[in-house]
């Protein structure tokens, strides 16, 4: 089969990132001890361009690459993939903005760092375009391996090394499940294509088992209870900007791929297979409740955010249940939620990056370490309050509108009880998000006692400001994103 270059044009956003990443790796050979901020700039420009190209193509017809029809094309570049690509590129962009000052502090200011972020984004993009399970798997691994490496970058800190090892082992375990599942699905259908999978009636035990194992693999990646054990240690140990990137990017990519699997692969519109709904519902409820309750008892802000990220995976699973019920708006709701979640989480980790102390250590991440920050650094305090309020799902933020959209989808899918569980979870979450605000504004500042210093960095400021802007924008004027998510879901045939 010959591929002409113009035929690759729909892949341009991804190819561009691969190119920039390789450029960064090659230049690293000659760079010496110089400052690597230029690498961050290059990565940001590349990601921004890639995002722009993805969004610009929205509305154009679907492109099938390396194949002639849905059943044999490994890559499907439709509006769904384009919107998702733009989303993960945005996540990478903000994460790259958060990185330079942190990397300098933590002593891992390498060009490869940004290269790995770009590769991870490429993997996420491939996941969103995957027309068959093998492509999906390759995208997932590209993303995962890059993120494993990013997690272990703070080589001097044993917590970072432990996190990387743990993440890697658990990730390999999850990959095992996933591959086994794909093999079983292949055994049952003699194909890895999602379109072919959709034509199979439910009931084959081999197929059911295969899909179950694939779902377990997903559950690991999004840290759904009971496959969440790795999350807190990994979140705590990884470099803070990477934690933010991993919390949003990996989750977004996994949910987007899951959405395509549910809509294209499981033949949901025909309602052939309702076995998954009770299982997914149980997963959602467990994830929301356990995630929120464990977040409640954490003393370390990064660990709290890790468990809160678990609980957000639970809210998103509610959307997946609604999607599996055939509710057309659930997919848009998931994409919308992921987008607002991306900005509010990255923003929160951005503020934490600002306040990171050179010596680091778990003590500097406890609630008490942030006493009085709200007054010492008013802008940071306002931003953090905004992100916490958004994570708690209060108006006028994107977090609120996202939750509203998700829960509406659940209600329309006649899963009102799931919406109520989500609401209960949100209420629990209010307490621990408020604790951050309490620490920032209401605790007495210990005298003398060290307090985190705010690192000045133009890139970091820009990153947090961008996140704050979009959190508000999505809450007050969500219509443009709603239109995007709608056209994304239309391209899946909904």
């Amino acid at each position: 089969m010959s591929i002409s270059l113009p035929a690759l044009e729909p892949l341009l956003p991804g190819l561009l990132l691969v190119g920039v990443a390789i450029l960064l790796l090659m230049y690293e050979v000659f760079a010496g001890q110089a400052d690597r901020t230029y690498a961050a700039h290059l990565a940001v420009v590349g990601l921004g361009l890639s995002m722009f190209l993805s969004l610009k193509a929205v509305g154009t017809p679907r492109a099938l690459l390396f194949g002639t029809d849905l059943a044999n094309a490994p890559l499907i570049v439709d509006d769904f993939a384009r919107v998702a690509s733009a989303l993960v590129a945005a996540a990478g962009l903000v994460a790259a903005l958060l990185s330079p000052s942190y990397a300098k502090n933590a002593g891992h200011d390498h060009g490869e760092y940004y290269g790995l972020i770009l590769f991870a984004v490429v993997g996420m993009m491939i996941m969103s375009m995957a027309g068959d399970l093998m492509t999906f798997f390759l995208g997932l691994e590209t993303m995962s391996i890059a993120v494993y490496a990013l997690t272990g970058l703070r080589a001097h800190d044993p917590r970072s090394t432990e996190a990387a090892l743990k993440y890697f082992l658990m990730g390999a375990f999850a990959t095992g499940f996933l591959l086994f599942g794909i093999a079983l699905v292949y055994g049952a259908t003699a194909s890895v294509s999602l379109a072919t999978l959709a034509t199979f009636k439910a009931g084959s035990p081999l197929l059911t088992l295969g899909i179950a194992l694939i779902l377990i693999g997903f559950a690991f990646k999004v840290a759904a209870v009971p496959f969440h054990m790795w999350a807190p240690d990994v979140y705590e140990g990884a470099p803070t900007p990477v934690t933010g990137f991993m919390a949003v990017g990996v989750k977004a990519a996994a949910f987007i791929a899951l959405l395509r699997l549910v809509h294209s692969g499981l033949g949901v519109s025909a309602q052939t297979d309702s076995t998954w709904i009770p299982i997914l519902s149980a997963l959602a409820v467990l994830t929301i409740l356990v995630g929120n309750v464990l977040a409640l008892v954490q003393q370390n802000v990064k660990r709290m955010l890790a468990y809160s990220s678990v609980s957000h995976a639970g809210y998103l699973l509610i959307g997946v249940v609604a999607a599996a019920r055939g509710e057309a708006s659930a997919g848009s709701a998931i994409i919308f939620y992921l987008t607002s979640y991306t900005f509010m989480t990255l923003g929160a980790f951005g503020v934490l990056t600002f306040l990171e102390r050179k010596e680091g250590g778990p003590e500097s991440e406890r609630y008490g370490a942030f006493a009085g920050i709200g007054f010492r650094h008013p802008a940071l305090g306002m931003a953090m309050s905004l992100f916490m309020v958004a994570l708690a799902g209060m108006p006028p933020t994107g977090g609120f509108f996202g939750k509203l959209y998700l829960f509406t989808a659940a209600i329309r899918a006649e899963e009102t009880w799931l919406a109520l569980v989500g609401i209960a979870g949100s209420l629990i979450s209010v307490y621990y998000y408020l604790r951050v605000i309490v620490a920032f504004y209401m605790r007495e500042v210990p005298e003398p006692g060290p307090t985190p210093t705010a690192t000045r960095s133009a890139q970091l400021t820009l990153g947090v400001a961008l996140a704050a802007f979009f959190v508000l924008q999505l809450g007050l004027f969500p219509a443009p994103l709603l239109a995007l998510t709608k056209s994304a879901m239309l391209s899946l045939g909904l």
Partner: protein, 173 residues
């Protein structure tokens, strides 16, 4: 399916692969564990032959048993052989063992049950050149070209990641 020589061989090699795999986990001496892993790879390779996947069988021996394991053994021998204290596992871990065993048993049961009821195809249904080098090559470069290409990116990422983590750099001032 009657009791054929293939079935006998399959039983022998599958049992030996499972035992060898268990050995990797259970044996404490790293060198012996590594040898057990080689035995496991070998058994799996034999299973591939029984499945008419000759190329895979050869690759299994060449790549895993040959290259990767040699590397493993080198690393084990080069790293100082310290006597690690055997730590009592925490309560949570001890509780987890039966749970994990139960999960494994469940998956195994479901799998056996599924395979038994699925009614799979037999080797006679396969095309004659199944598993040959040329047919695998055709699959790679015709139907799975994209996968083949993107694997190169994946490997590149793996290499870069490994280098970045392991490379010791001078702490920056």
């Amino acid at each position: 399916m009657g009791f054929t020589p293939e079935a006998l061989l399959f039983a022998v090699f599958s049992v030996s692969s499972v035992i060898a795999a268990l050995g990797v986990v259970v044996i404490r001496d790293p060198v012996k564990a590594a040898l057990s892993l080689i035995a496991c790879f070998f058994s799996i390779s034999c299973l591939f032959v029984l499945q008419s996947a000759e190329l895979l069988a050869v690759l299994e021996i060449l790549v895993y048993a040959g290259a990767i394991m040699v590397l493993f053994v080198f690393v084990i021998m080069l790293v100082e052989n310290r006597d690690e204290a055997i730590v009592n596992p925490a309560l949570g871990q001890r509780l987890g063992v039966p749970l994990k065993l139960a999960a494994v048993a469940l998956v195994a049961f479901a799998l056996l049950n599924g395979v038994r009821r699925a009614g799979l195809s037999t080797p006679e249904d396969l095309p004659t050149d199944f598993g040959s080098v040329s047919s695998v090559g055709h699959e790679f470069f015709d139907n799975f070209l994209f996968h083949f290409e993107v694997t190169s990116v994946l490997l590149l990422v793996g290499i870069v990641g490994a280098v970045v983590i392991s490379k010791r750099r001078k702490p920056q001032t």
